[in-house]
């Protein structure tokens, strides 16, 4: 009888003591967690992408409650979510408008001159280290090895014909791909800025032409065509100032090499192209 009783008592006693100890500790050492933190955490995207600069969504939620960061610090959240968070903690949301990633390159494999058959590690960061221009003859364009697609936590990028294709529906503008791209050919643009120059090469026209048929040749036609002077030339590359651009699409229409992307609604584009551009 004692052979059963003692072990049972000992183990039961140990369990009881530890249970009591833990109960006491959790009471005595309890850390007050703001209930709003859990609420904020619950509506955040939860991908722990780290684009906010904090180790994860939990840390961001904590920082938001403490007031050490802006509510709009989460680049992955839609503006509705940001407003919801702002409502929870009772401050005005400072929404800048969502951003999306944009690829400043249109040089798919059929549009560019092949430079070599790349057979190294299929990772842009590795390929960019190797001397030479990479798979295509343009040393500024998209390498198309898919590092951005790999690092995207939202599965918004795929590679087609040696170009990164961004699904703007899925893209939340966290900027991780922009950070990882060794060629800096990706950038974050406001989602509302629908007209963008899709070329990253600052080279002069003839040099661009040698490598790619859709690269910006620096002809300045777009600069002259723009009704609001939103385009300027940086070296031999047209750059659109999104804060001035009114998304009229005239530059995209006039561009002789068609390197300006017009990402507006298809019907809208048709309308502008029909209207006299004077």
């Amino acid at each position: 009888m004692t052979g059963i009783l003692y072990p049972a008592l000992i183990m039961g006693g140990l369990g009881l003591i530890f249970g009591a100890l833990l109960a006491f500790a959790s009471e005595k050492f309890s850390v007050k967690v703001d209930p709003r933190q859990a609420e904020v955490r619950a509506i955040l995207p939860g991908a722990n992408c780290g684009a906010c600069g904090f180790p994860g969504c939990d840390a961001f939620a904590e920082a938001v409650i403490e007031g050490t960061t802006e509510v709009s610090g989460c680049t992955a959240a839609t503006s509705e979510v940001i407003e919801e968070i702002a409502a929870i903690i009772g401050v005005e949301a400072n929404t800048e408008g969502p951003k999306v990633a944009f690829l400043k390159c249109k040089g798919s494999t059929d549009k560019t001159v092949e430079n070599c058959k790349y057979e190294g590690v299929m990772d842009c960061r590795q390929a960019a280290i190797i001397p030479g221009k990479g798979p295509t003859a343009c040393s500024y364009g998209c390498l198309g090895l898919g590092t951005c697609a790999e690092v995207c936590p939202f599965d918004a990028i795929c590679i087609e014909n040696g170009l990164a294709i961004i699904d703007v529906e899925k893209c939340v503008g966290c900027g991780i791909c922009v950070e990882q791209c060794p060629r800096d050919v990706l950038m974050l643009v406001p989602e509302s800025a629908k007209v963008q120059v899709a070329c990253n090469s600052p080279l002069k026209g003839p040099d661009v032409k040698k490598a790619c048929s859709v690269g910006c040749i620096g002809c300045t036609i777009c600069v002259k065509a723009c009704p609001v002077q939103a385009i300027e030339m940086v070296d031999s590359l047209a750059v659109i100032d999104s804060s001035k651009c009114i998304n009229c699409g005239i530059c995209a229409l006039k561009c002789p090499v068609k390197c300006i992307s017009d990402m507006r609604d298809k019907n809208l584009i048709a309308k502008t192209s029909k209207a006299p551009s004077a």
Binding site: Y6, I10, M11, G15, F18, L22, A25, S30, V31, G120
Partner: protein, 193 residues
């Protein structure tokens, strides 16, 4: 003194807890894909193993042995370690938020880690004194840190290697790596007589 040093060195290299005793393989493969997290895990294991050794040794010597209940060691050790880890987590969260942030996420993972239990059971089986137990625990957990950091370093490098056949990428190559590391560690046999 020399025997303690020998025990310490042998716990790190010769009888490496992962690569020679094959304890704690779960975090070794699970948490070793990034160097930073591997480091955090290793340090958390050192912390918990040493504390758990102290507790389990005391419980065994002062409770189980006097009552002749040595056969209850597995049950009581698990209970003690789980409660200890939980307790430490609660206390750290309150008193050392900084340390909690760096170790906190790994602590629950260690609750049922067999490396921690294994060290406690080995201490008992080898009939170590308290000092020997603590030295052995520190050595074994340092060995764990060493192995997991080596593993993480290797895995970070082979992750982007395209020469690995597709079917072998990820965990299969990690398992092979672990096996090769284990063979390499066999080379330490004989440095301690």
């Amino acid at each position: 003194m020399m025997s303690l040093l020998a025990l310490f060195i042998s716990a790190i290299f010769v009888n490496n807890i992962i690569l020679s005793r094959f304890l704690g393989c779960c975090p070794f493969l699970g948490v070793s894909s990034k160097l930073e997290t591997a480091k955090g895990m290793g340090i958390a294991v050192i912390f918990v193993t040493v504390m758990a050794s102290l507790m389990t040794w005391s419980a065994y010597e002062f409770i189980l042995v006097p009552l002749g209940l040595e056969y209850l060691y597995t049950l009581s050790f698990i209970l003690i370690i789980a409660a200890l880890v939980q307790f430490v987590e609660i206390v750290l969260k309150k008193l050392q938020p900084g340390l909690y942030k760096s170790l906190g996420i790994f602590l629950p993972l260690i609750t049922t880690n067999c490396a921690v239990l294994g060290v406690a059971v080995l201490n008992m089986n080898e009939k170590y004194s308290l000092l020997q137990s603590l030295v052995h625990a520190l050595g074994a957990s340092l060995g764990f840190l060493l192995a997991i950091i080596l593993m993480a370093g290797i895995r970070e490098r082979i992750e982007t290697n395209q020469n690995i056949p597709k079917c072998m990428r990820g965990l299969p190559i990690a398992l092979i790596t672990a096996g090769l590391m284990s063979i390499a560690f066999m080379g330490f046999i004989g440095i301690i007589k």
